[in-house]
Amino acid sequence: MAPRNTDDPNGISRRRFVASMAATGCVAAASSGVLLADGRFVIPNAEGFLVVDTKKCQGCGSCMMACSLAHSGSASYTESRIQIMQDSFGNWPDDLFIAQCRQCQNAPCVEVCPTGANHVDEANGNVRRVDPEMCIGCRMCIQACPFTPARLQWDKDRRKSQKCDLCVDTPFLDEKGGPDGIQACVRVCPVKAIAFTREMPSQTLTDAAYQVNLRDWVWKRLGMTAE
């Protein structure tokens, strides 16, 4: 069962919430969400999230390659929806960082999109996605992302923004992607340093809740800490 937006008044379903708000004339529809009278933008929670173990990642970049291959059929680091950044001379665990889209509860990138290209895909687990046909390349979504590095990518050749869709739109993957299917990065990771979860991590302005410990007795047996 997908988690629900716990910030919703009374914890009621989005459908009931939107209906009740609309009845009172307190909301304005905007890009799959509703804008409350107090200025808050509310959208249904995503039904899937990627969490990572930065202490476990071996830095092979396979997830980046798989991501761009599954989505566009070509190999590109720049266009990967997940980014692995490393400093060869840095000390563990600060030598590497993984930046994946958080499928934010409030999703500023969705809120700011002027065309609705960046939207909530209700047919696919409320994944926050960019419709390339509607994207006008204004990059406002990239600027709106509150995280560093921004979890959206700029496709310089097509001049459009893009982001992680949990593999909903992966024409080069011969399996079903998305929250009810597989995610290419999770599938390919040799050490299982990326995991898919339906439990929404805590929504804070740090990545802490999205960085989890995926190390177990096997990791310890291989000689590395599981702590």
Binding site: T78, D87, D174
Partner: protein
């Protein structure tokens, strides 16, 4: 027309004129990539292929990628370097080296499939390559720095954010010298991949390496010294380009098969699996890790990282022999296991930062010890040395030795031009006869896999240009020796093992298990010659051109599968499957072997022009005149052998020597099978033209070095 798998351009760096020239990769497409591409480029752009010193300004060094780099082909993230080297005897052959990490991948994102380095810069330079913009920079402030400092300074010059969490940086905005601002160059979170030399290279020593990141090293060929002679400190590559892939779906599917069929499940792994591709990440260091606070660290696209980055701040990304080059002496002085580990990893760091090849230490340190014990080496001795030999085994001594060898000081003044060369200079030829100096072939040290026992390693090395460092069949020794040594289960019996392997030795030895009979009776046979041929051709294409990792391929046998068959040559996840998915080719596995034969023949043509003759193809005297009696790790050396009654067993091969005449007979057999002149070892016109190399035959003919056709 889309050139699937390729960036599409080759970069020529004319260092003399400091000029960049682009060549279309399409013109070299038939060579595949990596070594094959490099040999073809060397052939075309090296104007004097008779040179025998890598420091000759006419020398051309090619740094090449593979279509598989950065594409998800499993453990195919290597990078190949070719050119005339600086680390063999009696001739510095046209040779090769190989390096992991990110460089091979990032070249392609920067827009190139290979970089051809020509001429000699008038003063030290480094080269900045970003999205096909090439800038030569003065390297005055980098010359003299170690490899880490050089890389960190270049990152700073280019404008790379220091913190890995800083995020995207714009190739147009942050560099000292911006790219074309009219064109969107894109953004990246990645650091430029830099290949650089340290003092050992700057001083043009035979031990000069090319170093990338903390611990990726192209070492054995001495290309660091070659770069030093060209006044080339470093090349930095970064880009935001994408590589077109012919069939991404097939590529993703095959990669998933490697994980799900051929690899032990990481949640319930078989820690003792016999496989190359199907192992869990495990540190491949010769000393214990200093802490459990580390991650496995992998080359790009690897399924199983074999290096580490630690919390302790030393030993990063160093593996294998480099972690133990100083082990034997340090073991005598270390007061604890922890100190022993720290001395060795810090000694490794010293070599990496100096850009010094540590392979000399495999047997070279024993030789130096022998000279000291004999009273020949030391302060005021026949071979004078002011090194603090009384501190031999300490980290201080290791650092001083690294410095001396890197800077041509003390005994390094002689050893910098080659260890066997120094032995001759010091009047110690006898040590090559007794084995006190165990440098087996072409002036290079014994690898630990003695030619008298592991014949395919020795034959491959002496018939080629260097210590092969190709562990294709060596995994047999590793698996069965470890089982014997540590009383582990023998996962596959000898008869089944040779049967499975031989199924994959197409075309020369398919289903001929007798080629894997390492017994005394078979070691000089046509059977073994076929094995060596297969090995030479397999590695020239799949391992050195497609750039599959030596440690992960070939996967002959694999106990993770129900029938113990590995991924190699399979139709679901074989080497050629990934090649075809990326490039759109329709290669069979055997087509790849044949392409390797073509590359191998081109290499032999270059060696022939350099002066190669079969009379030079000889092991060091101790291989013939002494018995192999002291193993590197164990007092036995196990290999499959066939008894007189045809029964296959694993047998200890210690205690034998090589017979000179029988080895000569073996060479004749090998040359005949290769279609080379058995009298000279030179390629013949028929062989070269059969490989669509008529211009190579014409060049050899003009040089008077074309092999005579066999009369039979």
């Amino acid at each position: 027309m889309t050139l699937y798998g390729y960036a599409g351009k080759i970069l020529r760096l004319d260092l003399s004129a400091q000029r960049a020239i682009e060549v279309d990769t399409a013109d070299y497409r038939s060579w595949g990539g990596g070594h094959g591409l490099g040999s073809a480029l060397f052939w075309d752009f090296c104007r004097n292929k008779t040179i025998t010193d890598g420091r000759d300004p006419a020398n051309v060094v090619v740094v090449t990628s593979s279509p598989l780099n950065g594409t998800l082909a499993p453990s195919a993230g290597r990078c190949e370097v070719v050119g005339v080297g600086l680390n063999t005897y009696p001739v510095h052959w046209y040779t090769r080296s190989n390096i992991g990490g990110r460089f091979g991948t990032m070249i392609r994102h920067a827009g190139y499939d290979a970089i051809v380095i020509e001429g000699k810069a008038p003063r030290p330079v480094w080269v900045d390559v970003r999205n096909r913009k090439v800038v030569f920079h003065d390297a005055a402030d980098l010359w003299g720095t170690d490899t880490r400092t050089a890389q960190e300074r270049i990152w700073q010059k280019i404008g790379v954010p220091r913190d890995v969490r800083t995020g995207w940086w714009n190739l147009n905005e942050t560099a000292e010298e911006a790219l074309d601002p009219a064109t969107d160059q894109g953004r990246t979170t990645q650091r430029p991949a830099i290949m650089t030399i340290g003092p050992a290279g700057e001083n043009q020593t035979c031990g000069g390496c090319l170093v990338h990141d903390a611990g990726n090293v192209a070492a054995v060929a001495g290309f660091g010294g070659v770069w030093g002679s060209k006044n080339l400190k470093a090349i930095s590559v970064i880009g935001t380009g994408e590589i077109p892939v012919a069939d991404a779906t097939a590529l993703l599917r095959a990669r998933a098969i490697v994980k799900e069929k051929y690899t032990s499940n990481i949640e319930q792994p078989d820690f003792e699996a016999w496989s190359k591709i199907g192992k869990q990440p495990r540190l491949m260091a010769m000393v214990s890790p200093p802490t459990d606070q580390y991650r496995p660290q992998a080359c790009q696209g690897c399924v199983s990282g074999c290096r580490a980055r630690y919390s302790v701040g030393y030993g990063h990304e160093t593996k294998c022999q480099v972690t133990s080059w100083y082990f034997a002496p340090s073991r005598r002085v270390a007061r604890s296991a922890e100190e022993l580990v720290e001395i060795n990893l810090r000694a490794a760091d010293a070599a990496q930062r100096s850009g010094l090849n540590t392979y000399f230490a495999l047997t070279g340190l024993h030789w130096l010890e022998h000279l000291v014990e004999e009273g020949l080496l030391g302060p005021g001795k026949t071979i004078h040395s002011d090194l603090p030999w009384e501190k031999y085994g300490t980290l201080e001594f290791a650092e001083k030795l690294v410095h001396a060898l890197s800077c041509r000081e003390d005994i390094g003044a002689d050893l910098a031009d080659g260890w066997v060369q120094a032995a001759h200079k010091w009047g110690r030829e006898e040590d090559l006869r007794t084995g006190d100096m165990a440098f087996s072939y072409w002036g290079q040290p014994e690898h630990g896999y003695d030619p008298r026992a592991e014949v395919e390693w020795g034959y491959g090395s002496i018939l080629g240009d260097r210590d092969i460092c190709e562990h294709c069949f060596n995994i047999i020794f590793t698996n069965i020796t470890a089982a014997f040594a540590f009383a582990k289960p023998m996962r596959i019996g000898a008869e089944e093992l040779v049967s499975i392997i031989s199924e994959k030795l197409s075309p020369y030895a398919k289903n001929r298990p007798e080629v894997l009979d390492y017994s005394d009776e078979n070691m000089y046979s046509e059977n073994v010659a076929q094995l060596v041929r297969w090995h030479r051709h397999y590695t020239r294409f799949y391992k050195e051109s497609a750039l599959y990792c030596d440690l992960r391929w070939p996967d002959f046998y694999n106990t993770n599968t129900p029938d113990n068959r590995g991924a190699t040559a399979s139709e679901d996840a074989g080497e050629h499957v990934f090649w075809n998915a990326v490039t759109g080719d329709k290669l069979s596995f055997e087509d790849g072997i044949e392409l390797g034969r073509r590359i191998w023949n081109l290499d032999n043509a270059i060696w022939t022009l350099q002066g190669r003759h079969r009379d030079m193809v000889k092991f060091a005297p101790f291989i013939y005149e002494t018995k192999y009696e002291k193993g590197e790790l164990f007092p036995f050396f196990m290999w499959p052998c066939r008894d007189a009654d045809g029964t296959w067993v694993y047998r200890d091969l210690m205690g034998r020597s090589m017979d000179r005449q029988k080895f000569e007979d073996f060479k004749t057999s090998f040359y005949r099978l290769e279609g080379w002149d058995v009298a000279s070892g030179w390629p013949t016109r028929a062989t070269l033209e059969g490989l669509d190399l008529p211009e190579v035959a014409a060049t050899l003919d003009a040089a008077g070095r074309l092999g005579k056709e066999s009369s039979s």
